[in-house]
């Protein structure tokens, strides 16, 4: 893609669509609903209301339908470029993970498959079963083989996740390089770093070994494995991470538990995504819109899941992420 290629139609459409995004205020209102039914009813007035659900337990379907609609709408705006794909690979790899685990465990994984990847679910299932990678473009066949082989050796499903996560990020990074857009490249790099930081914290909390961090370290971000391992092995790992570009994030939130840190990470990413708000003709706002929708869907999912389990309003509100608008 030429660096200064402009997309007035796509950006203007997306700007108009931004009106349908839920503001943080609106999300808070939904969080204050007295029960699940009321929350669903409030969502009915928004873009999510297009899917009528008979049972409140089917809320996941409502969110999935809406996200899929968004992906299709945005992909249609810039038909010749493949920007949107970068954000869809994670859905593809999620499906591969589910399908592989289904294969090895014989548990029905169908309900866990997500739509909205670059490859339709049925096509993915059929070709993955046959190991026909020619039909699965953008999927790293070697990684799938490695994941299966490693599982066969270790009988530990964790490796399916770590190997495929790495493959997913590698695919994203490759696509971002090809696209040559700084905004996307930086986003992918930041996402890698954040994922690594989350792994570090999780492994630390679970009191596992440093080797595990090495296994799930995603290559390609700004934080090196050496640095993360040094932090992991040091007494006060936050002190080590303070020197990095994520210093404030680590210093303020890492000590407060995993849930808080995860939210802070999402907010950190959103603050980066928000930079696209001031771009007018270049494709950044189009990508930002996809990310904004994904974050919104995550918030809606958090709120509804909490409502379903009667979790206190204040706790729900704490967990609602920053929104794009």
């Amino acid at each position: 893609m030429a660096k200064n290629k402009i997309y007035p139609f796509a950006v203007a459409s997306v700007r108009s669509m931004e009106n349908s995004l839920l503001t943080k205020q609106k999300l808070m209102q939904i969080a204050e609903a007295k029960d699940m039914e009321e929350a669903i009813r409030m969502l009915g007035d928004t873009a999510y209301g297009k899917t009528q659900i008979r049972d409140v337990h089917l809320y996941e379907q409502m969110i999935a339908n809406h996200l899929e609609e968004t992906y299709v709408a945005v992909a249609g705006l810039i038909p010749t470029e493949t920007f949107v794909d970068i954000f869809l690979y994670k859905n593809d790899y999620h499906n591969i993970k589910v399908l592989l685990k289904e294969e090895v465990s014989k548990v029905n994984g169908r309900p866990f498959l997500v739509r909205g990847g670059t490859i339709p679910v049925d096509k993915m299932a059929k070709n993955l079963r046959e190991r026909n990678y020619v039909e699965l473009p953008n999927i790293d066949g070697d990684a799938v083989e490695l994941a299966v082989a490693t599982y066969a050796k270790t009988q530990n499903a964790r490796y399916i996740d770590t190997i495929l996560d790495k493959a997913c990020f590698a695919t994203m990074a490759k696509a971002a390089d090809k696209l040559g857009n700084d905004y996307v490249s930086k986003y992918v790099k930041t996402l890698m770093d954040i994922t690594n930081l989350k792994s570090l914290l999780r492994i630390k909390k679970l009191e596992r070994e440093g080797e595990e961090l090495e296994e799930c370290y995603i290559l390609g971000g700004n934080l090196s494995l050496d640095l993360l391992l040094r932090a992991f092995r040091s007494e006060s790992f936050i002190q080590v991470l303070k020197e990095t570009q994520y210093g404030t994030l680590c210093e303020e939130y890492m000590g407060q538990g995993f849930t808080v840190f995860e939210k802070a990470c999402d907010d950190y990413l959103m603050s980066y995504v928000k930079e696209a708000k001031y771009k007018t003709l270049t494709p950044e706002p189009v990508m930002a819109f996809i990310l904004a929708k994904e974050t919104e869907a995550k918030c809606v999912r958090i709120i509804l899941a909490c409502k379903l389990h009667d979790i206190d309003v204040e706790i729900i509100k704490e967990r609602v992420r920053e929104s794009y608008v």
């Binding site: 402009i6 007035p8 139609f9 796509a10 950006v11 203007a12 459409s13 997306v14 700007r15 108009s16 669509m17 931004e18 009106n19 705006l77 007018t280 003709l281």
Partner: protein, 160 residues
């Protein structure tokens, strides 16, 4: 051959052509704004009237260029059918008079198109702020008008 290229008549007509080139800027500007306008209308067809107004803003440079081209052609008598014979100095002066609006027209048209596209997106998001969007785009117009003024003053003081 070379002599005819530097004849007063040819230089004057080349000047009229350069002035008309301002239309390039307008065409690109209106095109960019038009794409943005289509994007907004695809989401909300009711905003057609508002965005059309903004889309038209970068069109003025082309009109200024046309005006200057007409003035030059009129002065040299091309339009009345009996072209005056000009010295090389006269022709070159008319050419010089056309350059400001021709050049500034191209670049300000493109720039105004971008500003208008941004204004159109503003309307897409906040329809009530349309007047502000128009103002931002209209600011660019200043420089096209200044160039036209310079072109016109030069043209006006060339004696034939």
């Amino acid at each position: 051959m070379v002599e005819s290229l530097f004849s007063g008549e040819f230089l004057a007509l080349a000047g009229a052509a350069v002035a008309a080139l301002a239309g390039i800027g307008s065409a690109i500007g209106v095109g960019v704004a038009g794409e943005a306008a289509a994007g907004v209308v695809s989401e909300d067809p009711n905003k057609f009237g508002q965005v059309l107004l903004l889309q038209a803003l970068p069109g003025t440079q082309g009109i200024y260029g046309l005006l200057m081209a007409f003035l030059i052609m009129n002065k040299v008598g091309l339009l009345s059918g009996s072209m005056a014979s000009l010295t090389m100095i006269q022709g070159a002066s008319l050419f010089a008079a056309a350059v400001p609006i021709g050049l500034v027209g191209i670049f300000s048209g493109i720039a105004q198109g971008k500003a208008a596209a941004a204004g159109i997106m503003l309307v897409g998001k906040k329809p009530s702020e349309m007047a502000k969007g128009m103002l931002f785009a209209a600011m660019v117009e200043t420089y096209a008008v200044l160039a036209l003024l310079v072109s016109f003053l030069m043209y006006n003081n060339i004696q034939i």
